[in-house]
Subunit: 640 residues, 3 copies
């Protein structure tokens, strides 16, 4: 496998042309070999409709490439110019409260608007035509951060019309829809598809089937929007197409988008995310304020490796304080290096820092770059250069011993039918993922359409509310250790409780008779320690009981090869259960303290210390000795 | 008095017709004798305008009645079908933020819309015509849960127009309105009724008189809507008319609606209510998470007994977890029985469980029934059957020793002029009610238009901001112990401070010179223990002082026969004051620990244990011995 | 200097004419000599358009003046009558969510609406014509509490149109605007001014330059609205023009409004403000619940003395509980006197109580007056009379030893780019102001356009994000002790980071290389004790280091004559730093416990006790002995 590359996001249109060459030289000097450009530059590429100005971009590519940088060129469709509004006055999204989301920042378009989609295809095609065969352009980025700022959700007239068409296609007849949605329930029957609105602003909640279909429709529109651009580019280029996803966005099916692209990437902002996207308590947020959550990035690295079918990048890596979180501290010295190594440990082909030079103007002027606004080096630059110097050929990433299923359809379902305040699919999956990390295990994220689970010795699939058909078949044929539940198969594809009751696990005589949700201060203790929290199921059937609640009810049923978890275990319970299964599956586990983390890349083991204090390695990570300083990274051959 | 009946809510339109007979048989087998049907079925009764389909309903009634069940038939006006919108596009309510509340769930109508009201009368009349003289239909339910989902409040054009008419009727001339509202205050004078809008979206708060009149108008529209249907039915039937109210809804005058109906009923969801409608602290919410608040249901039982002028039901009784609260745990085993007994102890003629079989589709599929979706018995079924077996002839409910006045007008007033964050009328009344329950006292709720208080040995009337004229006269003639205040008579009917200052209590020389509200951490200690919290008044006059604040100011003035409370006492102070008055009135009190409760029905005493642990009865409840297990119910003859 | 005057706000239109003379007599009897009237009376002065009714006002002035009261006459433009809406249907403000703010309370106009502005000028001119030369009218109040209820902010069509004109004037060409705002950033370039909207409802935040210009525009509209009325009055009168500002409103530049008026005044509600406008913790809020914050009023007294260029009043002084805060307790006995003395200590020419008699109707009927609604004296009356009896000729206020710069432009900047939840300009300035009060120092607020700082021995200028040009020059020439930072000069006037990096302090070789914001639980300790909280800067340059962070980074750099603070110090750090600088500047400091405060007026020292317990003065305040009771005030000659 080739050495991972480092790169940087650059905005030639923000700077005098006279600066470009020197910037390029300094990028190379720091060991960077990639530069992403162009993704917000539409108003400079086409200042008025049809007036195309590629000259500056030609010169920027020329200058950057000449210095030895590979160009990643973005389509600028996340930032339609102001004149676009005159051509498509109804292209703006409408929020759930019915307010039109106006021009003046970015992502101001509704994915379902066909006129705007055509414009996006047009500009992508023009860029493809001009640069698609240019060898200096080594990859393409389509649009930017789908879903950021809640932009998948839209209740615009365009979305309403699209939804009606989508429903007509899906159901054929209105009677089929009425039946599927259970519209008899509150006399909600429709006489025609034209009568159906998006499910917002109803008096109390709309039917969950209605809401689920709306989410699916919105997700499909993202896929279609992306695919349209991908096809426009593909006509002109063989370079890989990429999108840069975000952290903890579950408003569309990233796997489906990913199918139309060669590489997945994401934008990794550990400190910003810790403040507003990580489920944890305040004391832990304080503890990792300058390091970020030790598992949140790792999870997304694994997720996007799956979305990219093995090929993935970090397209934007936080290099210093950001500007958009409730608080924006500076990283602990060394963390930029650590974050980069964490990505590489997970198999990133490239890590690009965002951004080269801090902008002294507009919305993100408080967002650090590798350079300060006065072009002096910011602290991140030296750390990037340090990583660049450390990198060499690395082993192939390979397959991890553990597979963890992640399914956007499940996220939709949990959000639509939360049933308990804390009940969130992402949170549940992260609880399991953290447990695996505490155990020192490397993990692959498994898409729900996976037909063959044999690569993994152990597979976990928590919270799959709707059974992915392929996965259920794969599980039936699977010989490894499979741990599923809670809530598996709780709903049919139409969001109904299955006639025979869930979970309908192949080979397990088991029914979830009823469920309850729990206040955070009302956990249900388990007989072997720990407890269920938030979510609990009462199961029946002949499947053997592996663990019980303290009140005697089954908590874990089945076998070490195929077990169902009848609740949401707390950390103590998860640690025990996961270790037991891993042991039975022949997977060795560690007991890592909070902050110390391990990731294997082939036979190489990378150890990272997210803690603010040194961490002893002896007896903790086999084959490693001494202590790792705060923000320290160590690597060596995997032992054991 | 006949034995109370048990029943269940059933939706024949949700199930294959082939299931009906077996369902009916099982209902009877469980000891149920009532079945409520039809209240959400409009789209199946009239799929398109004028196309009436009574056939299935005929057959459902036939099947259910044949099994021995009495039918309670609902008018389906809480769920107008989608085609209604085409006929009356402006029938939807508009929320305080100006957003139209759309179709897609239920209760999507504005009470003030005359076109929709006519439709409601039409369908009620059609149902009355067909089933009004049918002896199998033993009672009628009109609409469903007025006010649920904040649906009394509407700022629609229909409401605005209705409000103007209402004002013109009330005031006659605009000058009278300007004077009554004090519009001179901020140059808010109107030249005609047409200029007046609902009081939403004003820059700062609108005049309290304006807001109070709007609340009265909205309440009157509920009354008128209900009355119109009642009249349409009454033309065809002699069966009792019922509405099923909700818990802690004070947006309309339930007594006024109740005057047009024979029986009051309410929908009792103890666990859901504990999470989102009970004022208590988190530790207590945890303690009773599986039992519900020990006093909240009891209060509503007493309230609706008053609304029904003695005749009342629980129309929907929670039988297991619900789906709509922040957390939805399962009840402690035995609680379904206990809740049913609590209702019966308070004189319920019938208790119907909601619902028969858990629906596997639509909005409430996570709401338990007596059956699971797969038709197996859910835990509630056995408990219902247990109560059915226990029931026999019971004594008449009779009059309680204590009367507690509850007045929706007071609730309007406190909400409009809160003055302190915690100052809420319902909360104040519940504080008093809980005190009475801790003292083991059975309570009657006294409507504000009560002209004769002599049935009760003690009457409490906290927080009556506007003096109900009849009650003031009744109090003047009352010979029992009357405890009133705080805030009594603080406003005239036009929401002005009376010229002579409140409270204008007959026979008490007393004036509230001024008031203040208190932070929760700034209580005002009383000399005899406990404190005033939230609300405090400074009074003057020659009335004797019974208790003083620690700072010497009068806290309780008057006599043991007629006293005024110049503040909001905390629990310790309430316990002492209520006991003193009860003692003086010759009423024996108990000292019940939290969770243990007593209710008398004639000479019968029912004891319930809401606690999660056993409760000793010896020395606590005279005549009862031993311990009562968690969720336990005991009954016997009242002693002492 | 003449003896300060006491006065009261009175609404003759609220009361029968027969009461006026007796009211006037009692005002005089209490020692009051001023009466403010008329500011909400438009609907009674002009019930229908053009139908002017000055008769009652003539008689009110006659009656009040005859009793010996000077009249302060208000223009009634804060309360346009209902008919105004018919003439100018689009005059209403629109909030940030796009909702029109309706008629029914007060301040229901958009400052940018030209039609309404003309009406305001018309009524002001008519009043001026009639009463401008009347010697009984001793002063004029224009409008009432600009900005109260968030009324500066408006996104109405009138505001949008005005904003476009304002931008065109400011930038000349759209290219200049695009460049200044950095619109290249996200392709936000405009082709014409007509394309620009107010910066609300954008998908994510609009450009800070866009937002800053909108704030400036809105502020300018307030200035223009006020100036138009001032000019209309000035044509007819030589009496001083006044506006009554509010507490902690930073939505417009009060200094700019003040330039068009002779006297500044403000409305001082210490208990209401403590509950909802003071940054402090709950325990302190409890401690001062009946006294108000010991420093909040003092700060505004100093601020408005600056806004009035030395001449200022309290136009409305809280006399008892108010009606609008989350809780509304009564003041501790003596506090009305103390508050009045605090104002006089700061040089108030007049203190008027709001209001004479508590209104028994409309929105503020729970707001205390000097009289109760039944005309009996409320507690405040005696305290007002006590102050009146105590007052005599007092020394000139004079210049304070310390100047503290306050700049509304800085408040705009911090709000637009908060970067950390707690980062608020007003809060930072108050932290510094409190420190000065704890040190017993009297303070002058220094406007940002001050060209000469020599009157003060020490000047502090925290948080001046944009350098006021005059002040920077003044500082360059200043010989006293100047303490600036953090965030000084962080932005250019166009809201960009300056090329050379901030702070560009004359004579200090210093650059802020980068900044970070801190969680409240992540302070950065300083080597000498205390810590930076919320905001921290990393500085570089050759300026000497006076203090360091515990991690060695410079915290305070420069000299005792000119120093820059590289963070937001906590109280402990502020106490030390301010004392060091004061000492170096030859200013003696005290160490006052929380609650005890000192203010000098010329050679006179006024000591106040805000605490709920007595405070010893010996050894605490030189020259004062014994103890001061709660709410006590003492005065004497300043010693030391």
């Amino acid at each position: 496998m080739p050495t991972p590359q480092l790169g940087v996001c650059y905005y030639p249109e923000h700077w005098p042309e006279t600066l470009w060459a020197e910037d390029a030289r300094r990028m190379r000097e720091a060991g960077l070999s990639l530069v992403r450009i162009g993704e917000f530059a539409w108003s400079r590429l086409e200042p008025t409709p049809g007036d195309l100005r590629f000259g500056w971009l030609d010169r920027a590519i020329e200058t950057l490439a000449e210095a030895g940088l590979g160009i990643v060129l973005g389509t600028p469709t996340a930032t339609p110019p102001r004149w676009m509004l005159a051509r498509h006055p109804d292209m703006l999204a409408v929020d759930a409260q019915g307010r039109t989301r106006k021009f003046g920042s970015r992502r101001h378009y509704c994915f379902a608007h066909e006129g705007y989609r055509a414009e996006a295809v047009r500009i992508a095609g023009l860029l493809g035509e001009r640069y698609g065969r240019d060898p200096r352009v080594v990859a393409w980025q389509i649009d930017n951060e789908y879903g950021c700022h809640d932009t998948v959700e839209s209740y615009s007239p365009a979305a309403a019309a699209g939804f009606r068409r989508w429903l007509a296609t899906r159901y054929g007849t209105i009677a089929a829809l009425n039946d599927a949605w259970g519209n008899v329930f509150w006399s909600m029957d429709y006489a025609s598809f034209d009568e159906i609105d998006p499910p917002n602003l109803t008096v109390t909640e709309a039917s969950p089937s209605h809401r689920l279909d709306y989410r699916r429709f919105l997700s499909d529109e993202v896929v279609a929007f992306n695919r349209a651009q991908a096809e426009a580019l593909r006509a002109h280029t063989d370079a890989p197409l990429i999108h840069n996803y975000m952290g903890r966005i579950v408003s569309f099916d990233h796997f489906a988008v990913g199918h139309d692209l060669e590489i997945a990437s994401w934008d990794s902002y550990p400190l910003g995310f810790l403040e507003d996207r990580v489920d944890t308590h305040e004391e832990r947020r304080r503890r990792f304020a300058r390091q970020g959550d030790p598992d949140f990035q790792a999870f997304h690295h694994d997720l996007y490796r799956a979305v990219g079918r093995g090929r993935w990048w970090v397209m934007e890596q936080q290099p210093g304080p950001v500007n958009w979180a409730p608080h924006n501290p500076a990283p602990l010295p060394g963390m930029v290096r650590l974050w980069t190594w964490e990505a590489i440990a997970h198999g990133a082909e490239a890590v690009c820092y965002f951004r080269w030079r801090q902008a002294p103007f507009a919305q993100e002027q408080m967002h650090a770059g590798l350079l300060r606004p006065d072009s002096a080096p910011a602290p991140g630059l030296a750390e990037a250069a340090e990583v660049a110097a450390e990198l060499g050929d690395l082993p192939e990433t390979g397959v991890s011993p553990v597979g963890l299923v992640f399914d956007y359809a499940a996220a939709f379902a949990w959000e639509i039918e939360r049933q308990g305040t804390e009940c969130d699919y992402f949170r549940l999956v992260m609880d399991v993922y953290r447990t695996l990390r505490r155990a020192g295990l490397s993990v692959d994220i498994v898409p729900p359409d996976t037909a063959d689970l044999s690569p993994w010795r152990m597979v976990l699939a928590p919270g799959l509310v709707t059974w992915p058909a392929a996965l259920r078949d794969a599980l039936a044929a699977y010989d490894g250790a499979a741990l599923i539940g809670p809530r598996t198969g709780a709903k049919t594809r139409d969001f109904r409780i299955p006639d025979a009751l869930p979970p309908e696990v192949p080979g397990l005589d088991l029914r979830v008779a009823r469920v309850e949700t729990l206040r955070a201060d009302c956990p249900v203790p388990l007989a072997d320690g720990g407890a269920f929290r938030f979510w609990r199921e009462y199961v029946e059937g002949d499947a053997p009981v592996l663990e019980r609640c303290a009140d005697g009810a089954p908590a874990l049923v089945g076998s070490q090869k195929r077990a169902y978890l009848a609740g949401w275990p707390d950390d103590a319970a998860l640690d025990r259960i996961v270790r037991r299964f891993a042991q039975a599956a022949g997977i060795e586990t560690l007991s890592l303290p909070d902050g110390l983390r391990v990731r294997d890349r082939g036979g190489m083991r990378i150890v990272t210390n997210y803690a603010g204090e040194p961490m002893a390695l002896d007896g903790i990570v086999p084959g490693f000795t001494g202590t790792l300083p705060p923000a320290g990274v160590a690597w060596g051959t995997r032992v054991g």
